[in-house]
Structure formats: structure tokens, C-alpha cells
Amino acid sequence: MSASHSVSSYWKNRARRHTMLMGYLFVAPMALYVLIVHFIPIASSLYLSFTDYNILTAPKWVGVANYVKLLFRDDLFRRAMRNTAQYALEVLPLNIAISLALALLVNRATRGIVIFRTLFYLPVVTSIIAVSMIWLWLYEPRSGLINLILGKLGVGPVNWLGSPALALHSLVLMRVWRGVGWNMVIYLAGLQGIPQYLYEAAEIDGASGLGKFRYITWPMLKPVTYYIIVMGLISTFQTFGEVYAMTGGGPLDSTTTVAFLVYQRAFQYFEMGEASAVAFLLFGVILVLSLVNIRYFQTRLD
């Protein structure tokens, strides 16, 4: 009995070991990819953030000097943080409101609705540089389309990208235009997951359209909204392409975002240590904001 038990357990363990080995083998390519492409560069970057490194000579250990300089003596870093936060706070609510409105509009089985869905989604699949070039023309102060239309109405000219007071808002407008299609699709999926019987029950109870939205649609979409806020925060805090292509961080640093500052320090001045420190501070901010969001929304969702 005991011998047969040990034989059977041997075969069981062997089978389990084989299964485990196969599992590890299947996971290995992806694990290696993550290790080589993500973890090693992140760890290297963390190390570099404590050094003075210009690519051409060996890194020199400087401890926390880069962080101290950025946090206490670097006006441009503080300005970039403020700009980025302002940008995110303007983009996210606008994006959520417009994308939800669009999702509600296209969430119906009307003939030709697919065309509208595609049109709203089209800017998302267009390259950020191509979009930026088009908007540069639209914003051109003297011959741009927007100012030409405003001129016909007796308004302007508006110095969209040349005015320190307006440049960041102008980038926000472009970003919202480009981003609503993506969130519209996510909201659309959320809307189609809401059980129809809830609306039918509400109708029997005499609920108005606004009431149905307030008491059914919006609460049922909260997990989707939470996802959009977290992902939106991460992506807006990493804004780079449009700043690089349209304003170069100006005028008067009014559009310098943290990601653009990383690029400037790393690839214009080759201050890799300082650039890495900026990147890790940005990572810290995104991490804290995401954790706050997760806790807040989890409490609300529970």
C-alpha cells in the first residue's frame, strides 16, 4: 500500500514538475522580454538618476543631488510640473464629458451610425505629429482657418500658440479633439453592458431621460470612468509629441511639460542623470495619483 502510494505520488510529482517546467518555458520568452526591455532599463535609469552622466564619459555618483536640485532649486522643473498638472486637469474633464456625450449619441441602432463612430474615432489613429502639423495651420495667427472664421465674426485675431496665456489651452483643445474618440469607444462598450431591464423598470416607474442617466447610466459607468481617469492621468502626464511639434515648450515655458523637460535635459543637453531624476519624479507623481484614484473609486464602487 505504502509502496504503491509512493509510486503514485512520484508520478504525480513528476507530472506536476513537468507541467510547471512547461509553464515556465512558455512564460520564459515574455519574462525575458520584460526583464530586458523594461526592468533593466528602468533599474539603469534609477541608478543614473543618482549620477552626473553625459553619455560620452563614465557616470559620476552624486547621490541625491539631482533630486535636491530639481525639487528645491529648479524653477523650470516646478513650472513643468504645474503646466503638466494644469494640462491634465483641463484635458480629463473635457475629454470625459465630450466622449460620454458622443458615446450616448452613437449608442443607437440608427442607419449609418457606424460612419459617425468611425469619424469620431479617426483622429485617434492619426499620428500625433500629423495632427500637430494640421493644428499648427489651424492656429496660424494671420492665415489660419480658425482666425479667418473668427475674423468674419469680428473676433480676434487670437494668438493661439504665441500667447503665454493661451498656448497651453490651445494644446488642450487639440488633445481633447484627438482623444475623445478613444474614450467614446470605451464608454460605448460600457453603455452596451448596462442591462436593458434597468431602463425598462425605470420607465415603468416614470423616470425621465435625465433621471435614467443620473440614476442608471452614470452610476453603472463608474468603473469605466475610473478606468478612463486613471489611464487619462497617466497619458496626459506623459504628454510630449504635441509640445515638441507645436510649441517647443514656449512661449515663456508656458507649455513645457515634464516629459518635454526629460527630452530637453536628456537629448539636448545630454544631462542623463538629471533627466532620469525628472523621469522618476514624474513616475512618483503618477503612482501617487493612481493610488489615490484607486482607493477613492474602490471606496465609492464598494
Binding site: L56, S143, G151, N159, P164, T247, P251
Partner: protein, 419 residues
Amino acid sequence: MVRRLVQALVVAMLVACIAVPGMAADKVKINLWFAGNPKPMMDAVNNELVPDFKAANPDIDLEVTFVPWGDLSTKLATSFAGGVAPDVFMHGQAATAGFASSDQVEPLDGYIAAMPDAADFGVTLDAGVYFGKRYMMPIFGSGWLLMYRADQFKEVGLDPNKPPATWEELRDAAKKLTIWQGGRLVREGLDLPSTGVNPPQIWACLLWQNGGDFFNQDFTKCVFNSPEGVEALQFIVDLIHKDKTTDTSINMGQGNIPSIATGEVAMLFAVPGDCAAVKTYAPDVYKEVRIAPPLARKKQVALYAFNGFFMSKSSKHKPEAWRTMTYFSSPKAIETICGSLRSLPPRQSLANMSFIAEDANLKTYVKGMPSARGNPNIPQWVKIRDVLSRYIEKAMYGAMTPKEALDAAAKEGDEILKK
């Protein structure tokens, strides 16, 4: 049948793998990076110069890469760091100090001394000098001179044959040429860039014309916040805020057509490439476009800069790299490259080459070369220039007075110099 076909393919691939390295083994591979990727230059290099070079140098396997200017410094730095730098690369003269101080480029004095026609380059060979050593073979150049519209000069009663020669004349002409309509600036008398790297370039011309300079003699202190520098910046600020001959909007022209050709701007500081752009995209307007000689105040000066080839210190084939440089700096190659870019040739013998002889504006650029001055050749220049850009922009937007802006820039500049 299929099996035989597969076998034949495998054999062919094996033969190719063995034969190709064998064939290339007796050739020396030289990587050459050109800065910029305008189509006319790429066509001229690929279709005319490279085949000619290969025919004359069968022992060199030349690989040419065109790197956009915006990516050039980054790509070079990473390739040097990775040990895969090109044997020969093109860059601006202002990059000399950075590469030379970090020992990335080879001094060329020995090679140049053996050149039979080195004298043809004249003083342009000094564009790439760092601590007395020459590092760059100049290939093409440009300068910042005043571009104006002759038809608009006539329209406001100015003589197009007597362009502004002093600051005062420039201001008067700008005021006359400016058109405001109901709060809209319809035509800028003098367009001045307010963002990016161009504002310090324009201001540098005025600084030098006013007798000022960027640094003290041993490059240990910024002196650009001198009264001369402040006066030069005040002149720019007054044109924006007092005379209102321009504003701080970003003027892009229309499509490829520069703003001077669309009529939105009457005067601007331009490089020869701008002449080429107007000539290509608005040929009817080009006959009305003129270039003025360098302005003068205490001195007649304008900013000129040359771009040229550098040899990597890490190149394993320096004799072949030099042969490549010799070919691409020959009169024929420079004529082809400059002709494609409509740029200024560094060789004196090419001063009257056909595309310059046919174009009065380009002739003005060539004539202005004795008044040329280049940006300071120190490793910290790019950083200090960017600091200056930020503070000049602040003054142009009225966020700081010219003195406050230049004092703050000098303070930051001094810290960069110390580092």
C-alpha cells in the same frame, strides 16, 4: 520538384552568405553621415557624387546616411557612446568645441597641411578651430542678412536700392512698412522670431554691431549683459512694444511659401536657404525680394556659420576617411552640394559659381562674408544659447526688462561656464 527548388534555394543562400563577405573583404567600409535631408541635396549626393566617388575609389565601400538636423546631435552622441560612430560626419561649426573637448574628433591640421589647394578655403577653415587645432572641413555656409520686398519699399516711398544700413534706418523702414487694420497686424514691417534658437542669432548680430560680445577673452565669464547687449535687446523690444512693427505671434507663412512671399511680412532676417524657398515656391515674388548688406552701428557685422565634415577619432580607417573627406570637399563636390542647397561655398574659387553669379541676392551674401562672425566655439555654447533664448523671449514678451533678462541669463551662463 518542390524539394529540388528548396535545395537550390538553400545552396544559393549559402553561396551568397559565403561570397558576399568575401567580395567585400578587400574593401574598406566608410560610413559617412550628411546633416540634413533636403531632397535636392540627397539627389545630388546619391545620383552624382556617390557614383563618381565609388568609380574613383573602388577600394572604399562608402555608405552614406542623411540625418535630419533635429536628430543629428542625439544620434551622434548615442553612436559615440555605443562605439559605432560614423567615420566621417557633418555638423555645424558650433559643434566643434563639444566634440573636440570630449576627444571624439580627429585634428585635421596634418591632413590639411598636405592638401595642395587648402588655401582656397581661406579663413573658412578657421570656422572649426578649437584651441588652435582644426577639426572641420567646411562644405557649405549661410549668413543672417536682411531680406526685404522691393515692391513694398516703393509702395511706401522707400528706395529699394538703398536698403536700411543702420539700426535707425531699419526702425524707420519697419515703421513705414507696417500695416495695422482695425487692431489686426496685416503686414509686419520687420518680422522678428520670438521663440526657439533664432532670437539669440538675430540679437547676436545686433550685439556685435553695437561693439559687444558674449564672453570675456578667456571664456570664463558672460559679458553679453553689457550696456551694448542691453541696448541691442532694447532695440528689439521697442520694435515689438513701442513701434509695433511686429508682434510675438508665430508666423509660418502659407505651406512652403515663406511669409515674406505671402505679403504678411515686409522685412525679415534670412539665410540663403530662405531665398531658395521663395524662388522655388513663389518664383513670381522672388524678383521683388532683395537682400541687404550687413547692418552697421559701431561695426558692420553679421552672423555667418559653416557646416562641414569631421573625422571620428574612433575611425579604424583614417586614411580612407580622409580620402572621403577630400573628395566631398573638392571643388566639384562643394559646387554640387552648395548648388543643391543654394548655400554659400567655402572655397574662394567657387564664389562666382553659376547659381551665385545668376542671383544678385546670393551675391550679396558672398559680398557680406568679410563682415562675417561666427558663434563662440566653446563646449557650453548650446546650453548658454538656450538660456539666452529663454531670457530674450521673456524680454520680447515684456515679462522682464532687457537688463533684467540679460543679467539673469548671464548669471545662469556663468554657472554653466564654471561647470
